[in-house]
């Protein structure tokens, strides 16, 4: 195990975050504040509580998930895409480092950054609403697993993309709609029956639902199912990354 190499990649990536601190940290905080002002205070004051939870409070887990997913994907995808784009990836490919170690470095850094952002958003939210967490251990578990799974997913996109457009394509066309339609800002029970069934096909629903349960013990689907789905997604991503490296996908000729 080349521990030094994992550390080198990890800290190099974290240093990149520090260099773009404003963009990395400030932008999710600002957008969260905006969501709270618009949904929480302005619109939320006219909405009755959802499933017995005040609306401003109800949207907190969804907001965290929204940022977590987009940030994990964009961080991890950019982290591996950029060296490919500049050509510096030659160094990683010629280093005595296994693909698993490469993934640990990049995905570890991206997931760490997402965790930091998630925590900051929770702290920001606590200024607006009276935040209570019913099951802190479950909350952290969902948080960590989501960060890792979607950082892995971002890493796959970064490996796959060969231009900047493709890099933006999946987050924009797939992730954002899935998050918005996955019950981030509403309970699935508020939908007509047909759309409730359709929503069950959305994997993000399970994430948000499980995460929300850890706060308020209110969920759209059972928490075990949520945990099962997120674990499955994580394993699937791991498998795809493993396949990509095994075949040298777009990295080796």
């Amino acid at each position: 195990m080349n521990v030094q190499a994992v550390k080198a990649i990890y800290f190099n990536e974290m240093a990149r975050t520090r260099k773009t601190l404003l963009q990395s940290i400030a932008s999710p905080v600002i957008s969260t504040v905006l969501y709270f002002i618009v949904f929480g205070s302005a619109i939320g004051s006219r909405i009755e509580s959802v499933e017995g939870v005040e609306y401003g409070l109800f949207i907190v887990p969804g907001l965290v998930m929204l940022s977590l997913l987009t940030q994990s994907i964009s961080n991890a995808s950019f982290g591996i895409f950029f060296p490919k784009f500049t050509g510096t990836v030659y160094e990683i490919m010629s280093a005595p480092i296994s693909s698993f170690e490469i993934v640990m470095g990049y995905v570890g850094a991206a997931a760490t950054k997402s965790l930091i952002i998630g925590t900051i958003i929770l702290i920001t939210a606590s200024f607006f609403v009276d935040l209570r967490i019913a099951h802190p251990v479950w909350m952290v578990l969902f948080l960590v697993m989501t960060c890792i799974a979607f950082s892995l997913f971002g890493f796959i996109i970064g490996l796959w993309a060969d231009n900047f457009e493709k890099l933006q394509l999946i987050p924009l066309l797939v992730i954002t709609p899935l998050v918005f339609l996955g019950g981030s800002f509403y309970s699935v029970n508020m939908l007509p029956e047909f759309w409730q069934k359709v929503t069950l096909l959305n994997p993000v629903l399970y994430l948000v639902s499980g995460f929300r349960w850890s706060f308020f013990e209110v969920s759209d689907v059972s928490v075990t199912l949520s945990l099962f789905m997120i674990s499955g997604f994580l394993l699937a991503c791991l498998f795809v990354v493993w396949l990509m490296f095994r075949t040298g996908y777009k990295l080796k000729q």
Binding site: V3, R16, T86, T88, E91, S94, A95, P96, Q253
Partner: protein, 323 residues
């Protein structure tokens, strides 16, 4: 351990390449069965035109390209099975100036050392940067450096993990004279430390100036590999030009056996001879010229350079390939 050392001593080669073949996805056959032994501590220059397969050869050894067939061992280890062992021994300076835009010189060199499994070492880092005249640029952003300075940074990155083997892919392409001189000084210093250096180039002077051995690659094949001196000897020819006082229209009968070339204006005779042969026949030729009653104005000899040897080799190869 013991067997590995003895194996290495037996062959004295640090890199063994056997039947290395690479066919790219599009069907392009970049390497057509290369066999090559690279000796420990030597400087080997690989010459060849663009697209000859030089970079593919290097990339295969370093792990950037997966060979289609054949095997490569580095320090007795297989490059695929024991990639950790082989890659730790190798430093690579790529052809393109590939550096992250936002990197700081110090950080990027430190990163390279880490990638190759070594803990940071500030003294070594400073020493390396000072060897490459980069010490005053330690905290500079890479993107603000000149092309020559970027090249130095790439070399620093390649040397950051103290490799035993250094690959320089077209190291002096687009590099100014000063840096080129500095680079050769560095190469000389590395050689004294026992580092094996493999460089590719299409500048023949470079190979002539610095290499111990020269290999010529063309169209995916290794055409020849030999000590620089013996390559020039065995393939080199010398020409003697005899300038005549008064021009002649036809060669005298007595000079026919020498296989001379008469210039169009009849003023110059050219005699070609092999430098390696014991009897060059110069004395006999001059005697015969004098006997034929031709007055000498001037004599000139000219030895073919590596460049001419190279052009000859590559062209004769073309001749063979064409139907």
């Amino acid at each position: 351990m013991a067997t590995q050392t003895s194996e290495a001593q037996d062959s004295q080669s640090i890199i063994s390449i056997r039947g290395l073949t690479k066919v790219y996805k599009g069907g392009h056959e970049a390497l057509k069965g290369i066999d090559l032994e690279i000796r420990e501590g030597e400087i080997l220059a690989l010459l060849g035109p663009n697209g000859a397969g030089k970079t593919t050869l290097i990339s295969s050894i370093c792990g950037l390209v997966t060979p289609t067939a054949g095997s490569v061992t580095v320090g007795g280890h297989d490059i695929i099975r024991d990639y950790r062992a082989t890659r730790s021994l190798i430093g690579l300076v790529p052809q393109e100036l590939t550096l992250g835009a936002f990197d700081i010189v110090r950080d990027t060199v430190r990163f390279s050392r880490g990638l190759f499994g070594l803990a940071p070492d500030e003294d070594k880092l400073d020493g390396l940067l000072s060897d490459l005249s980069l010490l005053d640029k330690k905290t500079a952003m890479v993107s603000r450096l000149s092309g020559g300075m970027k090249r130095r940074v790439l070399i620093a990155k390649a040397l950051a993990h103290e490799p035993r083997i250094l690959f320089l892919d077209e190291p002096t392409a687009g590099v100014d004279v000063e840096l080129r001189k500095d680079m050769w000084k560095l190469v000389e210093k590395l050689r004294q430390d026992g580092v094996t250096i493999i460089l590719t180039t299409h500048y023949i002077e470079e190979a002539e100036e610095i290499a111990d051995r020269v290999g010529v690659i063309s169209d995916g094949r290794l055409l020849v590999i030999d000590d620089k001196a013996s390559l020039m000897n065995s393939l080199g020819r010398k020409q003697l030009s005899v300038e005549l006082k008064t021009g002649i229209d036809v060669l005298p009968e007595s000079l026919k056996p020498f296989d001379l070339e008469l210039s169009a204006d009849g003023q110059r005779l050219t005699y070609t001879y092999e430098t390696r042969s014991e009897r060059t026949g110069i004395t006999a030729l001059l005697q015969a010229v004098s006997d034929a009653g031709l007055g000498l104005k001037d004599l000139n000899t000219h030895q073919s350079s590596l460049e001419e040897i190279f052009v000859n080799l590559v062209h004769s190869e073309d001749g063979k390939v064409k139907p």
